[in-house]
């Protein structure tokens, strides 16, 4: 990258956002606790008064309820697995690699950065290797406290790309969060197609070319990319790599068959600028701004597609504390987004697709983790208190077999590393259990309105160009 003369222009960026006064929030949460407490008391009273009129005793009611819950859990588990696999299979059958020969719209790649000095250069260098000629890069430095600004300024200019020279601009603004940084970049951009990514991610060379072709269809408002874990060969990151392949990407493929992808991932998402403007840009009133924007785009009637060949490599948390921090934010952010769009959830007449997607998210974020924990607790109690220890083995064996088959299919489809299949044996009993406990805790905290912060993940700089 050669030194070029730079123009520095002072600009004003919007800093608006929904800020609730603490008084309003206290009232809201107090009302919420009061209503749920009253509902619980009513439920207990119904059980106490109705139980003597049935053939059940208290202990048999607990056993009966647990067995029914387990049967429902297993039924839902199998339905979920085979439902996702079937839709994903249908999606892959219709998926094509055909590319447009005449459609090469101008794309602005927005790279929001906050204290990413270790990885920003590698990220931008990966962008210069894209197999696409009509694009620019806009780095938005969101008030970094390290030397990110200095590193980013060395990247500004016309730099040699794979096919042509690529213009790199930089916006330096005070810290306001990722959503504000992305909004600044989007508003500054002149392109019709916007690619939003994370400052610590790297894109594969074909990612833009293969994703952009879907915008030829005027109904497509956004295209979600495929996120893969880059820093592997560690126990926790390997498990996350499997989770991204088996849990997230396969679900996204299934959703893409009905053009209703519910979350466009932060590391790679392409948007029609009109769709973002219609949705009112990124909001900063939730901690999952990508989920919120996706729901708003869907609510406006746009379709969202998933492009598995548009790959973004990202650095996954390598420590348990960092992982919990990330999942805590994701869960609370998703619950906030669902809560924000509850009107669509309750009324399917407004947008049936949105209602369906919101209920799916609600189930995945709240009901499923609680059911998984309850099932595990049941087997622990059955083994310790009643001596049925073999039950937990069969439970684990059944789930492990199911996960092994799914992992095998997903890894084969994505042409991923086969060694990851072995992690499927401990995937559900260890990894998913830890994540689900974190999800339930986060849900309780969100319900009680406990304050939270964004929680920046520390980058170790494993990403290399």
């Amino acid at each position: 990258m050669k030194n070029q003369k730079l123009n520095r222009t002072p600009i004003i960026v919007e800093n608006n956002g929904t800020v609730h006064s603490s008084g309003d929030l206290k009232k809201k949460y107090f009302r919420r606790i009061l209503i749920s407490g009253a509902a619980s008391i009513i439920l207990v009273l119904i059980i106490v008064f109705s139980l003597p009129r049935t053939i059940l005793s208290v202990s048999s009611l607990v056993e009966y309820a647990t067995i029914v819950a387990l049967v429902i859990f297993l039924f839902v588990l199998l339905l979920r697995y085979f439902g996702i696999l079937s839709f994903a299979y249908l999606y892959l059958n219709e998926y094509t690699f055909k590319s447009s020969k005449n459609y090469f719209p101008f794309v602005s790649i927005i790279v929001p950065v906050y204290n990413e000095s270790k990885v920003i250069r590698a990220s931008v260098e990966s962008l210069l290797k894209l197999d696409y000629s009509n694009y620019e890069i806009i780095i938005v430095n969101d008030g970094s406290t390290d030397d990110t600004k200095e590193v980013a300024e060395t990247l500004v200019g016309y730099n040699k790309g794979l096919l042509t020279d690529i213009k790199i601009s930089l916006i330096n603004q005070p810290n306001g969060g990722k959503s504000r940084a992305l909004n600044s970049g989007i508003k500054h951009s002149q392109a019709d197609i916007i690619l939003c990514m994370d400052g610590d991610s790297q894109l594969s060379p074909e990612s833009v070319k293969l994703a952009v072709r879907h915008f030829e269809n005027p109904k497509i408002g956004a295209v979600a990319g495929n996120v893969k874990v880059l820093n592997r060969k560690k126990f926790l990151t390997d498990l996350q790599a499997l989770e991204y392949i088996e849990g997230l990407n396969m679900a996204r493929s299934a959703q893409s068959y009905i053009r209703l992808v519910n979350i466009i991932p932060g590391p790679i998402g392409l948007f029609r600028k009109k769709a973002i403007a219609d949705a009112g840009y990124y909001s900063n009133d939730t901690f999952a701004e990508d989920a919120d924007l996706t729901l708003k785009i869907l609510a406006n009637g746009w379709k969202i597609y998933y492009e598995p060949a548009s790959v973004s490599y990202t650095e996954a948390p390598a420590k348990l504390q960092q992982l919990l921090k990330q999942r805590y934010r994701w869960t609370r952010g998703i619950i906030q987004s669902i809560s924000k769009h509850k009107r669509l959830m309750i009324n399917p007449a407004i947008n049936f697709g949105d209602t369906f997607i919101l209920w799916t998210m609600f189930y995945e974020a709240l009901i499923w983790p609680a059911m998984n924990i309850a099932a595990n607790l049941f087997f622990i109690i059955a083994a310790i208190a009643f001596g049925f220890s073999y039950l937990i083995f069969f439970w684990w064996a059944g789930l492990a077999l199911l996960d092994l088959i799914t992992a095998l299919y997903c890894i084969a489809v994505e042409k991923e590393e086969f060694r990851l299949i072995l992690y499927a044996i401990i995937y559900r009993m260890f990894f998913i259990l830890v994540i689900d406990i974190c999800k339930v805790m986060s849900t309780i905290e969100e319900f009680l309105g406990i304050k939270m912060t964004w929680g920046k993940l520390e980058r170790v700089g494993t990403i290399k160009a």
């Binding site: 070029q4 003369k5 730079l6 123009n7 520095r8 222009t9 002072p10 600009i11 004003i12 960026v13 800093n15 608006n16 956002g17 055909k98 590319s99 020969k101 090469f104 197999d131 000629s133 500004v156 200019g157 016309y158 040699k160 794979l162 096919l163 042509t164 020279d165 213009k167 790199i168 601009s169 930089l170 916006i171 330096n172 603004q173 005070p174 306001g176 600044s184 070319k209 348990l320 504390q321 919990l324 921090k325 595990n376 087997f379 622990i380 083994a383 310790i384 220890s389 073999y390 937990i392 083995f393 009993m429 260890f430 259990l433 830890v434 406990i437 974190c438 805790m441 912060t453 929680g455």
Partner: protein, 144 residues
């Protein structure tokens, strides 16, 4: 000793440990988070920012552009085997219309304000259009 009881015990212990680990790690995370909680401060509706762009005047695109590689075809080249209509269609694609120049006629404004062209009537000959006066002066025998 049978295998299933041993495996069951291992899985049971592992599950209990996972529960304890998850809850312990979560509590630890919350304690650490609470220590570094920032103090909320009022935010203005707009903030000053700086846009850093490259100087367009210094940029020399000829030096870098490689147009032969731009829009590299994604699919393999398709070679048309049939001749005739295809070639004809391709030939038409590259035909460029010739630019035509029309002479501007000299004009004069009469006393009444009407615009009149000096060379109103032209005669077509093998040498092109010539004024009728010129044709009369040639003295060439005309057949009627």
């Amino acid at each position: 000793m049978e295998l299933i009881p041993i495996l069951s015990t291992i899985i049971l212990v592992a599950t209990i440990c996972t529960f304890l680990l998850a809850i312990g790690a979560y509590i630890l995370y919350k304690i650490r988070e609470r220590k570094g909680e920032p103090v909320p401060y009022p935010k203005p509706s707009s903030v000053r920012a700086e846009l850093v762009t490259p100087d367009e005047r210094e940029y020399e695109p000829e030096q870098y552009l490689r147009p032969e590689k731009m829009h590299a075809p994604f699919e393999p080249h398709y070679v048309r085997t049939s001749t005739g209509a295809g070639i004809y269609a391709r030939g038409q694609e590259y035909q460029r219309p010739q630019q035509k120049y029309y002479p501007v006629e000299e004009q004069e404004i009469s006393s009444t304000g009407r615009v009149r062209t000096k060379k109103k009537f032209l005669k077509y000959t093998t040498e092109g259009y010539i004024p009728t006066e010129e044709d009369k002066n040639t003295g060439v025998l005309k057949w009627r």
